[in-house]
Amino acid sequence: MIGSEKSLSPVFHDDLASRWYIPAEVESLRSLYPIVVMINFVSLAIFILREDQDLIFSSSMQIVVSLVILLLLYKLDQGQRFIRDGVIAISGLSLLLCVLQFLSGPQIIIDYWMLGWSLFPSLFAIYSVSKPIVTLWASGNQTTRSAELGLYRNRSVNRFHGKVFRHVALTHAVAFVVLPILWILDVALSPGNSLGGGFFDSVTMEHFNHILSSESFWIWTRNSVIVSIGTTILGLALAIPAGYAFSRFKFRGRDYAMFSFLLVQMFPGVIILVPYFLVMKALGLLNTSVGLILAYSVTALPLCVWMLKGFFDTVPKELEEAALVDGCNQNNVFWRIILPLSLPAVAVTALFSFLAAWNEFLLALTFNTSEEMYTLPVGLASLISSTGQAWGDFAAASLLVSLPVVVLFVIFQRFLIEGLSAGGVKG
């Protein structure tokens, strides 16, 4: 920000360093306060929903105060010492409002969070604008040397602020991700089917015992295991030779075949659902595992072929050429040399097909309508339906079902993400 003529000190008015220099603290406050204003608006909305008059008043005041601070921060410049004093004074007012807000209203977690978003920014504002270097800058008495030093110092201060800001942002994101998971753990461990109440008030294993001793849970698990393993085996049996052929051979129709695999990837599932259902119905494959296995292995096929082609591409061609020269035939080269070398890649592809089949919902819901043939997704969803709201059992079962999946995903995240973003499909 280039200062206007009158705000420049008379001695150094054409000095580049002092013209350019704005303390990093002020810059950080300028980018922080819009967020503070936004969060204050969110709290106002919550208080309006809560119909709490006192808090509505105090958070409206807080919004006004933070808007004034934001305005002052943008007005603050060299030689504007009284604006700096204004920032300190208004931040003090914001602190006072925080105390008032703390003394009134119900004290639940979210209140502390909202309070924190007024309290810490104003403390930070008071602390940083009353630092000597900022005071010097705001009073317009700085020398060129101090401006140069300040510019140098800004880099490390910026880095520090960036780091803090990153941690704050990431902590918020993690809280947003983790809270529902903690909540479902609480529901699984608390007695009855209550959804609310305090976190981990009373702990019981009744839901876990109930779900583990229920016959239907084991039937669904058996169906899911059969379907997922069947899908993995059939999918790999189809995909491995095709991936190898696409990776190694130049043959007529190769480009068209590869394009058709890409095309299928772009088809929305909806256009297939109804005719798929009718074909399966006609062939008598509804309410069987075979129907689902066929459907899943074909839906996962294009991605598996592309993943495997990518992996085979990385196996050096010289190995095969040497084997061929030594008199090994093409089939043996594939089975004895290439396949053993790419076993890790095949394992990742297998894991991908397994997870896709394990988590699929729509086709399982449509094809297998008898309770005997439900897979886990449809079975778990049936626990929460119009007929029953067994939240406790559902919570326990969903933790049991997702734990192995999440562990596998986290362990193999790097490979899975590489493969998935290469083929472009969400799990």
Partner: protein
């Protein structure tokens, strides 16, 4: 005191006038249709206004109503101003007569309860929703205006038609179609191989055999259903016409366009997709940049935690979120509010969008993270030396360089979100405000197609919807690609 006196007086006065009716005959016929039993009863004397017939059913002999459930009731009352649906128009068909053998359709009041005029002697009701194939007992209880109730002896019957509607589907056309597709694919591969052979390509001897299984599976289980679906959209196929459907031209497409709420559901689908993709990319970019700095402590812990919404099966997350938003759920505890968002149309729309945003961020975060790592580092160093601030660095360096990654990602995200079935089906099932014909408040196109196909059984119409959706996606993708390419050429 005065009121009680009047009540007693009127009771004494009315008692001799209102003659209590009793059931004199009761017959049941189970051979009338799918899950139906026809029940016919008559009274020993003309019924009085205010009498109520309650039909009770049970799977054991009914002596008291404790072990039975009430199926429906017929009231005797004033019929003026009530509608009188024709036979077949209503859920339970009922007729009545005055003892002259002429059956007249009953009236219906605002709740749909059957109403017959006074002096009625006989009533004939076709009861629906009877469990098929098992013996059930039916009885009629007469509640006279004096509140005296008499339960008739129960009568047993069973709905004879079996539970499964037996529709014989001719498998041979399907087998024929699949067989001919498979055969032509094999012949095509053979011809391609033969052409290669003539050119003397020996290294790729097995290539066509290697791809044959995958190509066969793809054509039989994907391309064939797609073509079959397009053909279905021009036929009148539905639950009862399956197998002998006939071509009816573009009638299904007219039905689609003229559905009440066609533009509303299309509009909400577009809003849903655009808001979701924008939020996924925005938050994904923000988090990817936060994760991407060199000196971030605990980066892999953060990344693993942020990946959780992707790792957890989506149907589980969606149901968990639904529990959070229930009126008794944790959201109200957490905010200290008293909301029932899922029952309010706009609240439910916001909620489903929020849940899908939660689900989709990790994928975008990881994809953008990969693209960010590929950006040249020295570009940023040069910018920092030149004193470019971080906003300008973001808008003039990061965004333009990420564009080649963001354009296909956003298109892909759009197509996925457009077809995201689980979130809406499991959160709201399209509700609130589910009408009988027409999409609910939060229905998007794909959930509505599911309803048309599998709740209404209108396969032909559903196939037409699918084709329309596919065309919408094609048009959108094409314009999007064109527009983004055009701007790329300008800059």
């Amino acid at each position: 005191m005065k009121r009680a006196f009047i009540a007693i007086l009127s009771f004494i006065l009315l008692l001799p006038i209102y003659q209590a009716s009793e059931i004199s005959t009761l017959e049941a016929d189970g051979d009338v249709g799918y899950r139906q039993v026809e029940l016919i009863w008559s009274t020993d004397s003309p019924t009085q206004e205010g009498t109520i017939f309650q039909i009770w059913m049970s799977n054991e002999t009914i002596i008291e109503t404790i072990n039975a459930t009430m199926h429906s009731q017929v009231t005797v009352g004033n019929t003026s101003g009530l509608i009188q649906p024709e036979i077949g128009e209503w859920y339970d068909d009922c007729t009545y007569n005055f003892g002259d053998g002429k059956w007249i359709p009953v009236y219906r009041d605002l709740d749909g309860t059957a109403v017959v005029p006074s002096e009625t002697i006989g009533v004939n009701c076709t009861l629906t929703g009877i469990p098929p194939g098992i013996e059930i007992y039916l009885a009629v209880m007469v509640i006279n205006p004096s509140n005296e109730s008499i339960l008739s002896p129960s009568i047993s019957s069973s709905s004879t038609s079996s539970d499964e509607e037996i529709i014989v589907i001719e498998t041979s056309p399907y087998i024929f179609a699949i067989g001919s597709i498979a055969l032509s694919v094999i012949i095509l591969l053979f011809i391609l191989r033969w052409m290669d052979y003539r050119e003397g390509k020996t290294t790729s001897r097995f290539a066509h055999i290697y791809i044959a299984p995958a190509i066969l599976a793809l054509s039989v289980l994907t391309f064939y259903p797609v073509l079959y679906g397009i053909w279905l959209s021009f036929t009148n196929a539905d639950q009862s016409y399956l197998g002998d459907q006939s071509i009816i031209g573009i009638e299904n497409f007219i039905t689609v366009i003229s559905t009440s709420g066609f533009f509303r559901v299309t509009g909400f689908t577009l809003l849903w997709s655009i808001v979701n993709v924008a939020a996924h990319i925005g938050f994904g970019l923000l988090l990817a940049m936060a994760l991407n700095s060199n000196d971030l402590r605990g980066r892999s812990a953060y990344r693993t935690a942020l990946l959780l919404p992707w790792a957890i099966p989506s149907y589980i997350s969606v149901l968990v979120w639904r529990g959070l938003y229930e009126p008794a759920g944790a959201l109200n505890d957490f905010l200290g509010t008293d909301l029932n968002l899922l029952a309010d149309p706009n609240g439910a729309r916001i909620v489903v969008i929020l849940v899908n945003i939660w689900l989709g961020i990790p994928f975008m975060m990881m994809s953008i993270s990969g693209a960010l790592q590929a950006l040249p580092k020295d570009m940023y160093e040069a910018a920092e030396v030149d004193g470019i601030n971080k906003f300008s660095r973001f808008f003039y360096l990061t965004l333009p360089n990420l564009k080649s990654a963001l354009v296909p990602l956003s298109l892909l995200g759009f197509i996925w979100t457009f077809n995201m079935f689980n979130v809406i089906y499991l959160m709201t099932d399209g509700g609130p405000n589910l009408d009988f014909d027409g999409p609910g408040s939060t229905d998007i196109l794909i959930t509505y197609v599911y309803d048309v196909a599998f709740r209404e059984g209108a396969y032909g119409v559903a196939a037409a919807w699918s084709v329309v959706i596919f065309l919408m996606l094609v048009v959108f993708s094409w314009t999007y690609m064109k527009k983004t390419n055009a701007t790329e050429a300008v800059t």
